[in-house]
């Protein structure tokens, strides 16, 4: 069969779409002080922010793997009253402005918060202004990406495989472990990558809930924000690091995990 040429209008609109994303990137590259880059990237503010962002985004991803996958399974496979509402609450951070999420976290888990105050009085633990606060804030914002991806995969899974395993005498736990999980592994991988990428870029909830202190709660996005006003070259260098890491991960991992998409 001879393929016809793609419609010109679609191509023009699609190129416009690419420009929306590519032009700001070019703007960033055009302003990059390439010669000073090595010294900028080895400055304290950059190194501290890199370490903290690595720790917080990977922790959030790990937490999401441990509790997010069971949560997705619950939403996809267990009928219970109020399931739609629970799903709505879980996915709310996808659309909520992160600053609102950060403020809500502060009201609930701050030192004077609903849960935070008894927690503080019982244990002396203060979440805001600590690395734990950063991890909590980025998990809150990022985990829904895993839940929505995995839940979708579970819903699209052909139930006959699980049914067949059950007929052959496998317990529900064995079916989950030996049939369901291996089949949705690509989606779990994709969801974890999305979660990690969102966690790396999180700004609003973090600065609202965990504050901003170099070496303790100042992640890469916060460092960029602060440096933009005082040291623009450092801000651009930091931005470049974020772009490079994120782009590398999104491009490379898509090949490995998103084939099924």
């Amino acid at each position: 069969m001879r393929r016809s040429r793609p419609p010109l209008l679609l191509i023009v609109l699609a190129v416009l779409g690419v420009a929306v994303f590519a032009v700001p990137l070019v703007g960033l590259l055009a302003r990059t002080p390439w010669r000073d880059l090595p010294s900028l990237l080895s400055s304290d503010i950059v190194v501290d922010a890199l370490k903290l962002s690595a720790v917080s985004s990977l922790s959030a991803t790990a937490i999401a793997a441990v509790i997010g996958v069971p949560l997705a399974w619950l939403l996809a496979r267990v009928e219970f009253p109020g399931r739609r509402l629970v799903r709505g609450i879980v996915l709310l951070p996808l659309v909520l402005p992160p600053v609102v999420g950060g403020a809500a976290l502060l009201f609930a888990l701050g030192r004077r918060g609903l849960v935070g105050e008894p927690l503080y009085e019982a244990t002396g633990l203060v979440l805001p202004f600590s690395v734990w606060g950063v991890i909590l804030a980025v998990t809150f914002v990022a985990m829904p990406f895993l839940v929505i991806t995995v839940e979708g995969a579970l819903r699209n899974l052909d139930a006959r495989y699980e049914g067949a395993a059950a007929t052959l005498g496998a317990t529900r736990w064995t079916v989950l472990r030996r049939v369901t999980l291996p089949m949705i592994m690509p989606s779990i991988g994709a969801g974890l990558v999305l979660t990690w990428a969102r966690a790396l870029g999180e700004f609003g909830a973090t600065i609202t809930f965990a504050g901003n202190l170099q070496g303790r709660t100042q992640t890469l996005p916060l460092a960029v924000f602060v440096a933009l006003e005082s040291n623009r070259d450092a801000a651009i260098a930091l931005s470049l690091v974020m772009v490079a890491i994120s782009l590398a991960v999104l491009v490379v991992l898509r090949e490995r995990w998103w084939k099924t998409w």
């Binding site: 502060l106 009201f107 701050g110 030192r111 004077r112 203060v126 805001p128 202004f129 600065i207 609202t208 504050g211 901003n212 202190l213 170099q214 303790r216 709660t217 100042q218 924000f225 602060v226 933009l228 006003e229 005082s230 623009r232």
Partner: protein
């Protein structure tokens, strides 16, 4: 026929003002619009340094009101202001603590206590710069827990009781009503913040911009500023 005005039409004046001017400028806007029918003041509040970056990157702004001189100076140096900026108000620093002062803060010396959660504005923001100068004058090496992006963010965390203390402007304590308590900083350690205002070269509405600046400098504008705790320039 109703013609919607948007995108820098002559009837709009875009004012970028330091976060600490929020309440006072909101009232000045109302008073100005009452005496200048058909003119719309659009207020954009933020940390002075963030506002400067917007201006230097070409944001369409008519008037810039900064919370310190050095940030305005860099806008002047970039050739972005019309004439010399005029100082329209001044402000002092105060320590703000949550109601009841749970941390038992009495002076700047308490900012060195590691058991307290204390915050400042980020160093690039005027209130952060002034706060550090005051601590320096008092010979205190602070144990800071957060560098907040602007004075309102800092005040908010103090109001909530999440921070035990922070250094803000006297006017912020005033405008917060009873939501925070203020502790005065002695004159020997205090820093006077002067607020300059200027019309910008790239102002889409230079005439309206000039009228707004005149209004801020006028008795009517100064009276409103005084009511919010600002001292005369």
């Amino acid at each position: 026929m109703v013609v919607a005005s948007c995108g820098g039409s002559p009837s709009e004046v875009r004012v970028s003002a330091a976060a600490s001017l929020d309440e006072a400028f909101s009232e000045i806007k109302v008073a100005f619009e009452a005496t200048h029918p058909g003119v719309d003041i659009l207020l954009n509040f933020g940390g002075s340094s963030a506002l400067r970056e917007q201006i230097l990157e070409g944001a369409p702004v008519d008037v810039f009101a900064s919370a310190n001189m050095s940030i305005m100076d860099s806008v002047v140096a970039a050739g972005e202001t019309v004439g010399e900026p005029r100082v329209f108000a001044s402000n002092l620093l105060e320590i703000a603590v949550p109601p009841g002062n749970p941390g038992g803060v009495t002076s700047l010396i308490d900012f060195a206590r590691p058991d307290l959660l204390v915050g400042l504005c980020a160093e690039a923001v005027p209130c952060g710069d002034f706060g550090r100068k005051a601590l320096d004058k008092a010979g205190v090496v602070p144990s800071i827990d957060s560098d907040e992006p602007d004075v309102r963010a800092l005040l908010n965390k103090i109001e909530l009781g999440e921070l035990d203390a922070g250094i803000v402007y006297a006017t912020d304590v005033e405008s917060a009503g009873g939501k925070v308590e203020g502790i005065e900083i002695p004159a020997s350690d205090n820093v006077i913040a002067t607020y300059p205002i200027a019309v910008l070269v790239s102002a889409p509405n230079p005439q309206g911009a000039g009228e707004f600046v005149e209004f801020v400098m006028s008795d009517a504008g100064q009276e409103i500023l005084a009511r919010y705790g600002f001292a005369a320039p």
